[in-house]
Symmetry: C2
DNA sequence: CTGAAAGCGCTTACAG
DNA sequence: CTGAAAGCGCTTACAG
């Protein structure tokens, strides 16, 4: 293996018989005599020169690689959000460093630290935060010096203690609206497939749903709520548990579509029909759910927009004195997975 | 906004009252008197110091950020492959720069160039190459100097002219096996939903399927093949076109699951039943297809493994004299979307 | 083991 | 407009 040798600006300058400064300027499109410029460009082309981004960043030129952290890129929710992020990144000639935490809070902190080391001009945290004092403190400890160093941070979903620019899907309102819609369909007995209680998203969606039911005089018992991982298998397992306990609900609300998909599979495997035996509703409106049989009733969130807006925020300076918040509403979409009982 | 000021190693060294060299060594876990080491670590902690990755990379330390290029991260196929990539990356403390080309060949080249500038020690190209001489030449022009500079490249899927380490899903064999399976079910009239002809994956899957049919004495006419984008909507549109022409096939083979999902939706919207009226088969076995109704018959590829293996290859030096090739077989999985006619 | 110094490859005032 | 030079923040031989 040959020594890791790269063509440098100096090589280009020599080949073009100009100074380093001139070569640099020509390559960066600054004022240079056309004649010299052409010589530099030709030399660079001929040598297959690529500027060293590290040297560039070190020397003070702005760095065009932003950081994005998600829980799991193979989850359709994050894939959709990331799609929006990538679009805006592409439009702005930005490279994205994408980290997948696999839902490990420690890992999320470690990635922020790495991104900080990379001097990413902006960091996006997609996916909800953890309601854990230790985590919050550690995250703040990473973010504070980053922000003080001029870094920008934007988050998708609520982070209780993080005072940064945020794109907030209206989880609480969306879940409440879903409760109303389900009530309107005539349902009175519900069960909820919830995710890890430490996630802010779980608290918000569950809270919104429960409070709205309470207004209608319906109380959600602890036994009506099953906690499981925010995954397809988590939904499958939670639904199975509900079934084993003897399901009395006519409608099951899964806090995410991915869980709802698992729940439907569990019902099918138990020989039950959706929505004839049990109605199922989800949250998010990931692309696939409209193609399921039956298509899933859900709270539709503009997933790509979540990512787009967050990236856009991270790219524009916040001139105001306080953090910016963009709220993106969710819309209840009634599809065939929920039966009308009245 | 305060000046973009960062805590540097020098600050840490001063606070700890040691030299730059000692501070560097202490932070990098090299031999240093425990006493000094503790002082340095305490100072770093106290100042919330993060080493500047650019300075580090420039100074010769190895850079732990690899590049990965895919066509569209929000596509379940790439999301699944990327999941595998991220897992291996995480296990190796690597950060991943992920670029989404949105299926634009030009963009792919541009991203390789950017990744080259970032001095990524490895670049992964996931997603099939383009059979286009111009593209091939441009890609080679980027890759050659990169490889010569010590960079590593691994690709998922075939790239005709790229002589680099590859993970090859057995597209041709898989499609052939599918043809046989479908023939065994009794089907004799087929239609194919193909993708852009310039993609090597299309050529391979279509070729394998067609050749196998031919062995059974069945010729696929040009009119039996519809080309469309490799997306859900592409599949929907292609199926609709087939229907408008008057479908005579008893079985439709979509070259990807994502297209198959669109095809099923189109059939449903036309009031046709899968598999009672038409059988549908796909390719890839993206996670969701087992949860569809009916679940999809497909050629199952170990998607996360595709990414894992490629990443693993890019991480280990190729000591041999020739490029490495890992072939990952696809297995036909017959599910309910294909009817048995005999 | 520790420190002074060179060097990584650029950019950007500063002179000319 | 062009060039010589300083400096970005590290790491790593090279002495001691």
């Amino acid at each position: 293996m040959q020594p890791r040798t790269h063509v440098t600006l100096e090589d280009v300058a020599k080949a073009a018989e100009v100074s380093l400064a001139t070569a640099s300027r020509a390559l960066n499109g600054m004022r240079v005599t056309p004649q010299l410029r052409d010589r530099v460009l030709a030399a660079a082309e001929q040598l297959a020169y690529t500027p060293n981004a590290h040297a560039r960043a070190l020397a003070g030129a702005s760095h065009r690689t932003v950081g994005v952290i998600c829980h799991d890129i193979s989850d359709p929710y994050f894939a959709a959000v990331a799609g929006g992020v990538m679009r805006v990144a592409g439009d702005n000639d930005l490279l994205v460093m994408l980290a997948s935490t696999f839902r490990d809070p420690e890992r999320e902190i470690a990635y922020v630290s790495m991104l900080r080391a990379e001097r990413a001009p902006a960091i996006l945290l997609t996916g909800s935060g953890f309601e854990d004092p230790r985590w919050e403190r550690a995250m703040e400890a990473e973010l504070k010096p980053y922000l003080e160093g001029g870094g920008r941070v934007a988050v998708v979903s609520r982070h209780r203690s993080l005072k940064v620019d945020s794109v907030l899907p209206e989880n609480r309102a969306g879940a409440a609206a879903m409760a109303r819609a389900l009530l309107d369909l005539g349902h009175r007995r519900f069960a909820v497939l919830a995710g890890p209680p430490a996630l802010t998203t779980v608290a918000d969606r569950l809270g919104g749903f429960r409070d709205e039911l309470k207004k209608a005089g319906i109380t959600l018992a602890t036994s009506d709520i099953v906690e499981a991982p925010f995954t397809r298998d988590g939904g499958y397992g939670a639904m199975t548990e509900l079934l084993d306990r003897g399901l009395t609900a006519t409608c099951v609300f899964a806090l995410t579509d991915v869980m709802a998909i698992g729940a439907c599979a569990a019902l099918r495997d138990h020989g039950l029909s959706v929505p004839d035996d049990v109605s199922v509703a989800g949250f998010d409106d990931i692309p696939i759910v409209r193609d399921l049989t039956p298509p899933l009733t859900t709270v539709a969130l503009p997933l790509p927009q979540l990512g787009e807006q967050a990236m856009q925020m991270a790219l524009t300076e916040n001139t105001g004195r306080r953090r910016r918040i963009v709220r993106l509403g969710g819309e209840v979409v009634i599809r065939a997975s929920t039966a009308k009982l009245v």
